[in-house]
Amino acid sequence: MLELDKILYFVTSSGNYQTGWLWKGLYDELPTFESRWYLTVGKRFTPSRFVTRHGEWTLPWPQELPEKFKMPEYNPNFSKSFMQVTDEKARRIKERIIQGEKFVVMYSGGIDSTVVLTSLIKNLTNEELESVWVGASVESVIENPYFWNNFIQGKIKTIDSKITKYDDLIEAGLTPITADEGDCIFGTLIGLNMYNNYDYLISDLSEGTKQKLSNLKNRIGDADIHFSTYKDLIIKFLDVPDEKDFGRILYEKYVRNIETASVPVHSLHDFFWWLIFNVKYLNCSVRGALFYNDRVAWQDAIMSIENWYNDSEYQLWSMANNNNGQKIKQTPLSYKKVAKDYIYDFDKNHWYNNFKMKLESMWMIGNQQNVTHLDIHRRPNARIALTKDYEMIYTDTPGVKEYFLHHLSNYKINWTDI
């Protein structure tokens, strides 16, 4: 039973109603733009799973953040390099291996998980690497065949990650390592998609704005060009057709959050980085445990999965290294530059270093998992919320409709004029 005063850790709402009939029914029932507004966020970002870690950010329902994912305090003097932070992280895993722990690196072949594997190969002895498995799928090979051929195949034991979920690994006594928060450290796909369409998006802004912004295309990571300079472009990018003023209201919400936080956010890339480092962070942290696991208790899964980048050192590095060319330079291709350089320093693959793009690998695994053994109402797309007591809320949980109807009806847009 979901009582009205229940505090939630996590909610997934979907504008295209992937999570079943529930959100569609609620959207149709809610009487005002204001009460429907949060569900409209899910139309723009599907699924919508925004929870703030810092700064002001109102949600329709009572919300708290699990301790494990709280943001460390910003330290402008943090001076460790990405390489130092990464090698030290690997050495902490090494200590745990010496104590007898066994790990599975969930490896997509993408930049974040290749950093993880690179650092382990660099810092572990061959004997210690015996305690490491690589969870990979055919997509992992396609995404980085060079690394597969030279450093994994025949050298490290592998597990097919497409048919082995987190519960299988945890029950086998293995600790899964996920690189899922990699984007949170460097920025977000949302930003990349905007930068990639910059010319098109500015083309029908007012002549003056277009003139101004056309010269700023390659300065997305320049601290001297404040993100508000791009306000019209961001609003246009955030907008949802037939939802008047939606983009502006969402932009103002982000701005309010930034202004009430104590972490500096200057450039356009900072703006998008902050969204994922702050309000989308929890999603990246727990989605594996909640949606790629059927048997292990939710709390146990969340606590036992090793979130590689959910580490105070990485987060401190991330807050102290904006606009210096390490996260991004001028274009999407330079995204995660420092991570690609870390890999190159080890594997010397100049093609990967020059041309590897961040890809969306999540859907290839998550959306292709076998769920036919589960009751249709207990499958991942019926899991819509997690309470503070780690109770999963499904679309058919008693009281669920009343809960969301009540809280959405009372939601107030109080950060800007509507």
Binding site: I142, E143, P145, N193, S334, N354, F355, M357, K358, E360
Partner: protein
């Protein structure tokens, strides 16, 4: 009649609505530039893009009518104006996947001259190397396909795999191609994993040299298609001397 958006009738894959021969562009979403323009066949461009995917993710586009000024020599300066609707399932092509897809650009899609990608303005040789390898793979892909259909006359393995039911294929598993070891798949793998044309050339020669069957005519044909002399290392493998085991009646 002008081709409408999303009208993907097969007639539009080789000719546009004006009856003009279409061209095919290999486009890099990361660079936001075309890295190759071909006018032979989109299957060859697509094969090239698949082989290149070990190094760069690309999309093969059937180019819209016009844009005759864009050539294989200058295409690195040309980008796509509107990528918002260019998707692979729900993902934008920018972040969609590593291996390529074939997609259509329609008459109202716009290609822009945008100049050298800013990431490489001060290091254009990296792009030169990329395009040199792309051109090389494109030629090799053409030679592989043509050699296979011209000279690999008894490629029954391929036939079994593609046209015969799986049960029969399993029961009669000894079906093979003339090269016995799936030679052309090996050559493609070399192209996929090599870093330079020189490295690939050397490895391809080694593949040819491993054959025990008399396929000298295939080696000769392969290099003829490429319009290149048979490498010195393979001279003893071609010509009449090489047909040591093959019955004359085969010709």
């Amino acid at each position: 009649m002008t081709q409408k958006r999303f009208d993907n009738h097969y007639r539009y894959f080789y000719h546009d609505h004006n009856g003009q021969r279409r061209r095919y562009g290999i486009y890099s979403p990361g660079l936001d530039r075309f890295i190759h323009i071909g006018d032979l066949d989109f299957w060859i461009s697509f094969e090239t893009a698949n082989i290149l995917s070990s190094k760069i993710n690309t999309i093969v586009y059937i180019l819209p009518p016009g844009y005759d000024d864009m050539t294989n020599e200058n295409c690195i300066n040309y980008s796509l104006f509107n990528k918002t609707s260019q998707k692979l399932w729900t993902s934008n092509i920018l972040v969609g996947r590593q291996n390529p897809a074939l997609k259509m650009l329609y008459p109202d899609d716009i290609i822009l001259k945008s100049g050298i990608p800013v990431d490489f303005e001060n290091n254009v040789s990296i792009l030169d190397d990329l395009q040199a390898y792309t051109n090389y793979v494109y030629e090799q892909s053409m030679a592989i396909k043509l050699s296979d259909v011209f000279y690999n006359h008894f490629n029954h393995k391929d036939f079994m795999d593609n046209f015969v039911d799986q049960e029969t294929s399993k029961a009669l598993y000894s079906a093979k191609d003339w090269t016995n070891v799936n030679l052309f798949q090996k050559v493609k793998n070399v192209l996929y994993l090599s870093n330079t044309a020189e490295e690939a050339d050397e490895k391809i020669i080694e593949i040819w040299k491993t054959f025990t069957d008399d396929i000298g005519f295939m080696i000769e044909g392969y290099y003829k298609i490429l319009d290149r002399p048979v490498p010195k290392e393979l001279e003893n493998y071609v010509g009449l001397n090489s047909y040591k085991n093959l019955s004359v009646w085969a010709f």
